[in-house]
Symmetry: C2
Subunit: 300 residues, 2 copies
């Protein structure tokens, strides 16, 4: 089993999207540049959703135009439908991400349609992407539990993940959207999904709302997962528990993986710098415990 | 393997001792009472060290006099030497804790003597305790790394733990004092110690300074450990990284263990109440992510 781990940095999109204040395009690009310099090779850059729904991502075309062109660095963008996909590709996107929930109630409340309808909506995106040579990543949300209907059956997660793969996702990211999972429930889910989608095409997307993010990454790594989504400085809150933490912090994940002897290719000190920089720009404390400890040690 | 886990609540001692402001005796006793009502059966109540060194614990005799007499609830107290032991027993202590470091540099800097000298100092405590029928718990600090000399050899930890057991400790608590351990280094250490001290007589004492506390509890639980020290609301900071987190929060540990199907006998909601109460009394945010998320959900 390889010890190489890919980290998908979701701070500039999933993270900032859930921060309340408006962030300037220059700040977003400054963050992305710092992340790329720290060794991140996959940075979710923006979202091509309507500015009406997500005003924070209204500058998606400017972001795409300003991305640092660095060899080997990928900038996936979120696309909710064919219109978003076309705008993304027109703006230069080479990789997009689509999403579905593993919970019917969440799908209805979040995007106002059933899981099946949401996936059907992505079929033309997959078709166009295949033609355009654009890679598509699939997200599944609520893989452990749903804020509206409670525990989600692992078989349901497996079904949605398998469907996204069949349509053409090169990878499916499994999101514990409300962060209630522990290693036990995460492993039950992973076992069910891995029976239908190769482990090498799966990613773990954990939230730290209940402080379980790092433990879930560790348990998944032990299980064989080698790709994780995370957010520098733990950017992004949790819309289902105001004031609580959202995405697990990239610094904490990298620190853990370094300790486990995994190779992420990321320079932890430069990553801490990037997190400190954006936290200061946002005027909020970092959500990364590793960053807090390392910054305290530096200033001592 | 049993799924019963004992939690040793160290907030009122190890936690408050590292909080800067003076906490009144009434507040300490209010916290202890709430913890006992939440189902904690082992609550480290105070420390019989000189008020010159630890002013926060100067009210140790008053604390002992005010402890709620509840069946099955134990109140160990920290004792640095025979004089402290005698004062503790005179004040009514039925269980004491002694401590040694696994790092020579830490022992010298922290208590100004070698590890061997520090253990020799406890020999009369063990002798008196055996005569008095007082239980003695041993703490080993720096079991993964030392703030002064870096990584600590697992064999050294095993040696100190074995010595504390041979002298009469009914349990040895293994403390990752600076919180730099990850599941890999923690397991290397545990394997070495468990080769010389029965697992059933070991406890894990993890700090969350680098966000690894919960993951280390999980890895240790998987390894077979069934006793953990933790601090409600994550009370206590880290003297080696100002502003950083110290003890792993009891709420987070209980949430994890509940998820793993372990039985702690603790009422998580009542525990969250106890943590919210002391955090408000101290005028500081809780250090527990579980508490933050559950309190946010309650107020929603």
């Amino acid at each position: 089993m390889t010890n190489r781990v890919r980290i998908i940095e979701v701070g500039p999109r999933d993270g900032l999207q859930n921060e309340k204040q408006v962030v300037t395009t220059a700040t977003k690009l400054g963050l992305i540049e710092r992340l790329a310099k720290a060794g991140l090779r996959h940075i979710e850059a923006t979202s091509f959703v309507s500015p009406k729904w997500v005003p924070q991502m209204a500058d998606h075309a400017e972001i795409m135009a300003g991305l640092p062109a660095l060899p080997g660095v990928h900038y996936p963008v979120l696309t909710p439908n064919l219109k978003g996909y076309e705008a993304a590709v027109a703006a230069g996107a080479k990789e997009v991400a689509v999403f579905a929930a593993a919970s019917e109630a969440f799908s209805q409340k979040n995007i106002n349609c059933s899981i099946a309808e949401s996936i059907a909506r992505f079929e033309p995106v997959f078709a166009a992407a295949a033609k355009d040579g654009v890679r598509v990543r699939g997200y599944v949300s609520c893989v452990v539990a749903c804020p509206y209907e409670g525990p989600v059956a692992p078989a349901k997660v497996a079904e949605v993940a398998e469907r996204l793969r069949a349509l053409g996702s090169y990878e499916v990211s499994l999101g514990d959207t409300i962060g209630t999972g522990t290693p036990a429930s995460v492993l039950r889910m992973l076992e069910a999904v891995a029976a239908r989608v190769p482990l090498a095409e799966l990613a773990g997307h954990f939230h730290d709302t209940y402080g379980m993010g790092v433990a879930n990454v560790h348990a998944s790594y032990q299980f064989g997962l080698r790709c994780f989504d995370s957010s520098v400085a733990g950017l992004g809150g949790c819309p289902y528990a105001k004031g609580a933490t959202g995405n697990v912090a990239t610094e904490d994940v990298v620190y853990l993986l370094n300790g486990l002897g995994a190779d992420t290719g990321i320079d932890l000190d430069a990553l801490v710098d990037a997190g400190a920089w954006i936290s200061e720009a946002l005027g909020r404390p970092t959500g990364s415990r590793v960053a807090r400890a390392l910054l305290a040690r530096r200033s001592a």
